[in-house]
């Protein structure tokens, strides 16, 4: 059974030796960011944003790239994570870990429950429902003034220092400490995701992506797997959302809007949908590009929109996808 699934699911992401090298390279780059980024005209907060969006996109990619199901409303869970963390910090308790937990649970559970409703739909209809559901939360966030701060957003909360016994992590000043905190959370999440995707569960998702009908004939409970994949991806994206709230000390309705969902999809596609690290690369390119272009011209939206279109028309496999194809041929 497993053999059949393995042959359906296809190849390992990267052959063994190369995988170790890639990992080492990636982490070396990420760990040394505070040193080389300012030299290139960047700033550490930019890297933090890349990590947060990269994590969100990687969460989405679990569903989009590895299961083959399109959600264009993932910002909803990102935003719910942000609001969950913010609301906890503001109204309940001044504790960063609890805020992160609350936000992740809020976004993840919302996704889990919603997934139940639409798991039988596919393709464009599924995508439409995810968009509409996301907008529902957006609407709630900007109308419920007394609770969420409404249109102006949720404020008056701040990330709190984290204490491990005698040691305190002072993440409340932005800068390098907070960046490494983000990197640590990112590492744990990425490792978890990697383990999940390499497990039999992950293989099954690949099988469903490649040929849903055949997977069904093999007796795989397709709907259940899709629902689980949807649910788990929402949890990861919600976690990224909590980090975003901590990064800005602010949560606002636009974190729930479908345009952010679109950004996540673009990052995933641009970096390479079917690769593990693609979304992170896509996030880096997108964030850097948007940051750079919007400083140069007011018409940055045209450029960004044009790049979306170019990616779709000429680079559908994304950067890593194209690189991988070249390495193979």
């Amino acid at each position: 059974m497993t053999m059949a699934i393995a042959s359906l699911g296809g190849r390992l992401p990267i052959t063994a030796g190369r995988r170790e090298l890639t990992l080492v390279l990636i982490w070396a780059v990420l760990l040394s960011v505070p040193f080389w980024l300012p030299l290139l005209g960047g700033y550490t907060a930019l890297a933090g944003r890349v990590l947060v969006f990269g994590l969100a996109a990687m969460g989405l990619n679990m569903l989009l790239g590895f299961t083959g199901v399109l959600s264009f409303g993932h910002a909803a869970y990102f935003g719910l994570g942000a609001y969950g963390a913010g609301l906890t910090l503001r109204y309940l308790v001044h504790s960063t870990p609890l805020a992160m937990l609350a936000g992740t649970l809020l976004g993840g559970l919302a996704g889990t429950l919603f997934g139940l409703l639409i798991v039988r739909r596919r393709g464009v209809y599924f995508a439409m429902c995810t968009i509409a559901f996301g907008q529902l939360w957006y609407y709630l966030a900007y109308s419920w003034n007394s609770f969420t701060g409404g249109f102006d957003g949720l404020r008056d909360f701040q990330r709190q220092p984290i204490g491990f016994g005698p040691l305190t992590l002072h993440i409340e000043d932005g800068g390098t400490t907070f960046y490494f905190f983000l990197l640590a959370i990112f590492a744990v999440a990425a490792a978890l995701m990697g383990v999940l995707l390499r497990s039999p569960f992950g293989r099954t998702l690949l099988a469903i992506r490649e040929n849903e009908r055949r997977a069904r004939f093999l007796g795989i409970p397709v709907e259940r797997h899709i629902w689980l994949s949807f649910s788990i991806s929402c949890f990861f994206t919600a976690l990224a959302g909590t980090l975003y709230a901590l990064l800005n000390n602010f949560a606002d309705p636009l974190t729930l809007h479908y345009s952010l969902s679109g950004y996540f999809v673009v990052m995933t596609v641009m970096g390479g949908m079917r690769t593990f690290w693609g979304p992170l690369l896509g996030a880096a390119v997108f964030v850097a590009m948007q940051d750079y272009i919007s400083s140069m011209t007011v018409n940055w939206m045209s450029f960004v929109g044009a790049i979306f279109m170019l990616v779709v028309l000429f680079f559908p496999r994304g950067l890593l996808g194209a690189m991988r194809r070249r390495l193979k041929s």
Binding site: L64, G68, L70, F72, L117, I118, R120, R121, R122, G123, V124, Y125, A127, M128, C129, I131, A132, Q135, L136, Y139, S143, G262, V265, V266, V269, M273, N299, M301, S302, V304, G305, A306, I307, F308, M309, V311, V312, L313, P316
Partner: protein
């Protein structure tokens, strides 16, 4: 009392009419080509802006007639150059493409006509209320509803009684068979997309007379159109018609009693439909799944 009832009915009709016209164009494109046109709101804005640009030379009536066809033409070009290339591919690509297109179009509108709001002049006759008692019904509102009724009737007649309409309907159900019957599917899709954009452009001209022009004007109408389609049933034009009317009426009624919830009610209906009858009011099981 009669005033209130009359008001509710007409208001519901007007709001519903808008949603219907916009949603029908979107639905048309969705059904045949499996493409969610994120740029639909921008085609709407384009319709309004082109009418604004044409009014000095053609007058209001001329602009009203010509502008939607210009938008259809632009839609045709867009379809041929870009959208056509991604048919048959994963739906993520069509979403991203139209999403990117929406960005470009919005920025173009802002660049060409400026970020400020612009008024679209209406003929004086239309801007009057029909009577002092019924002061809230201006001739323009009646005119809008009339235009929408004509357009929708025309669309359904077209779909029912013309060959092209028949082909589009057949193509919605089974495009492969239609192709193998010798129909030029490529042309069909292009035409279909253009018609969808025509409807969007027409909505834009009508909307501009009511709410004025600005680069973001289509954004607020995009989501209710989505919801109208889902509520009515994906894949069915009649469903979209009912969906649009339903949410329009609901929004109008809520505005009278509890104004801040008038948008919420649309989302409430969406959730109710997804929970109770996911295929929509008129949709068929298995459509687009």
């Amino acid at each position: 009392m009669t005033q209130l009832i009359l008001f509710n009915v007409t208001n519901g009709l007007i709001i519903g009419a808008f949603y219907v016209l916009m949603a029908l164009g979107l639905s048309l494109i969705l059904n045949l080509s499996n493409v969610i046109n994120f740029a639909h709101g921008n085609f709407l804005a384009l319709g309004g802006y082109l009418a604004f640009a044409l009014t000095p030379t053609l007058g209001y009536w001329g602009a009203l007639v010509v502008s939607p066809f210009l938008v259809a033409l632009i839609g045709l070009v867009v379809e041929r150059l870009m959208i056509r290339r991604i048919y048959g591919r994963d739906p993520v690509y069509s979403l991203l493409l139209t999403f990117g297109l929406a960005f470009v179009m919005q920025d173009a509108a802002r660049y060409i006509w400026g970020p400020n709001g612009l008024p679209l002049g209406l003929p004086a006759a239309l801007a009057q209320p029909i009577s002092p008692d019924l002061f809230f019904i201006t001739y323009y509102r009646i005119f809008m509803v009339a235009v929408v009724i004509v357009a929708v009737a025309g669309l359904f007649a077209f779909m029912r009684y013309t060959r092209v309409g028949l082909r589009i309907r057949a193509g919605t159900l089974d495009l492969e068979t239609v192709a193998s019957l010798g129909v030029n599917v490529r042309h069909l899709r292009t035409f279909n997309f253009a018609v969808g954009c025509l409807l969007a452009g027409l909505s834009g001209v009508l909307a501009a007379g009511q709410i004025g022009l600005n680069p973001n004007m289509g954004d607020d109408l995009l989501m209710p159109s989505f919801i109208a389609i889902i509520v009515g049933g994906v894949g069915s034009l009649i469903g979209t018609l009912f969906g649009g009317l339903l949410i329009g009426m609901a929004a109008a009624l809520t505005t009278v009693f509890y104004p801040s919830a008038s948008e919420a009610v649309i989302y409430a209906i969406l959730m109710a439909v997804l929970l109770i009858r996911p295929r929509g009011l008129v949709g068929e099981e298995g459509m687009l799944s």
